[in-house]
Symmetry: C2
Subunit: 303 residues, 2 copies
């Protein structure tokens, strides 16, 4: 092994608010990693390369003949990201190697590519990053037919069949949760790190059976704090329950009678799993980092 | 008329984010007014009196025998306001003169009272300020039987019968609208001062008939901007429509087959009126300042 042969592939998930980077050897083992880099929203297009090189420059040889491939998924490919990677149109496979875009770089030691997101025409919907996680999952389960749910800021329900994304639906549940718990009248009522499964499920059932009451139930959390001194632990659990209840009512055409796989933040996946169980459904939770890395590696294979 | 007899009553609507004050002569004519004072959320309890006196001190005689009554409704009576005025419990008349609380003041030229808000035990709900507007409306229409809708940050639907608040329901619609349009991924897609009634009503019907799709429809606004370059005017109108559609589905037990009176911001009342019309309902829009002032005057009568 030569002096500079350790890192042979760099993979990055560059989202709106965070950057994760993995440096791998020629066998795909992760040697270096960065878990909390700057997200796309805090960088100008011209800042992406210098920022990334500031983080990973010392992973690379000072000079050499072979360029190190860097494969990126996520919002770095948005119109306001590093360079736009035009959406592919569903139905389609999650990743199409021929549509991965190349980026010109100042630094000649790297060869950067971005995986395009997926769009749906009607109803209009978009994803960037999730397609790569889905590809990672399908690389291990190529015959999977069912629903992949990716909970997060913008939770996605994705129908997969014959290796393709058939259709998908995004819910703003996570962003609404953050906004209400950090910057609304509910803020002082829901500050807790604890969780109460009973309150969560009660609230879940309330809005699952009557989603029109969502914004009224939300105000009820404030009223319960004022009138009954209900503790933040219960109110925060209810806030999650109300939002997920309304979402699962809206996503029914996706999950009904389907196999469900979940990819996302572990704590959040567990909440969705509890709610789905209440509806008589079993969900399998995947390791998000694994599927993301697998997806990015797949996107590089044979290129 | 003596030198200092002009102002004989001061009325104030002291909300979370704004203070309105009216100085009236002995016939109830408004002589002085302040429309944009500091709201309760930017003042400590000890700051209320000096702040108010800084605004209205020169409306009062330097000294005199008779104290000038100041009657206040709104969040000034909250636990974290000037002084807590404990909620009255519905069903009850909107204002009960015997429950209006007196405040000790440093300045001996004034006599300050606060109108208590109303609470509902089950489901838990609260109001502060709206009860005074309702009392103002009922002072002119004592036999009104029906629904008063007060659109705003926290829109309230109130069932009135026999001069009492029978029950009420609050929706966080206005706060969610502000939060999404000012601090979410939708922000850049909905910056417009224009309004498109067709988009509003289309969106209204979408979530009215399927409220579970609210948070998915909201993300669809962002996707429509990205994929179809839909202009902000249409998207902002749809944002209003989606939120009000979901609310009206949830408030159906209130408005069904009822007389509806609206009290609130004019532009917002007009939106609700359009939506209610689509459901075959006529609503009467009241002048908010008039009903607030009437309510505050009523609260003072005979005290």
């Amino acid at each position: 092994m030569s002096e500079f042969s350790e890192i042979s592939l760099i993979a990055a998930d560059w989202g709106t608010s965070n950057l994760r980077v993995w440096g791998m050897d020629h066998q795909g083992n992760v040697i270096n990693r960065i878990t909390k880099g700057k997200g796309m929203s805090s960088l100008m297009p011209s800042e992406f390369e210098p920022y990334l090189m500031g983080l990973i420059g010392n992973w690379l040889p000072k000079e050499g003949n072979a360029k190190c491939p860097i494969i990126i998924c996520g919002m770095a490919g948005a119109k306001t990201g590093w360079k736009e990677a035009a959406y592919l149109k569903a139905p389609c496979p999650p990743v199409n190697k021929e549509k991965i875009i190349k980026i010109e770089t100042e630094d000649q030691r790297i060869s950067v590519s971005i995986v395009p997101g997926i769009m749906q025409k009607s109803p209009p919907d978009v994803m960037r990053g999730e397609e790569t996680q889905i590809a990672g999952y399908l690389s291990k389960k190529p015959d999977f037919d069912g629903i992949i749910c990716l909970p997060g800021t913008h939770t996605k329900w994705v129908h997969i069949s014959a290796g393709e994304i058939v259709s998908f639906k995004t819910f703003m549940t996570g962003e609404i949760f953050l906004s209400l718990s950090e910057r609304s009248i509910l803020k002082s009522s829901v500050q807790s790190n604890d969780f109460d499964p009973t309150s969560f499920l009660e609230a879940f059932e309330d809005t699952y059976s009557n989603p029109a009451l969502l914004s009224s139930k939300l105000f009820g959390l404030r009223a319960a704090d004022l009138l009954e001194n209900t503790s933040a632990k219960f109110l925060k659990s209810k806030l999650s329950g109300y939002l997920i209840g309304s979402e699962l009512a809206g996503a029914k055409s996706y999950w009904l009678g389907q196999n469900i796989v979940m990819i996302g933040n572990d704590d959040l996946c567990v909440l969705y799993e509890k709610a789905l169980k209440k509806l008589g459904l079993n969900a399998t939770i995947e390791n998000t980092q694994n599927v993301t890395l697998n997806g990015l590696k797949q996107a590089c294979l044979g290129r």
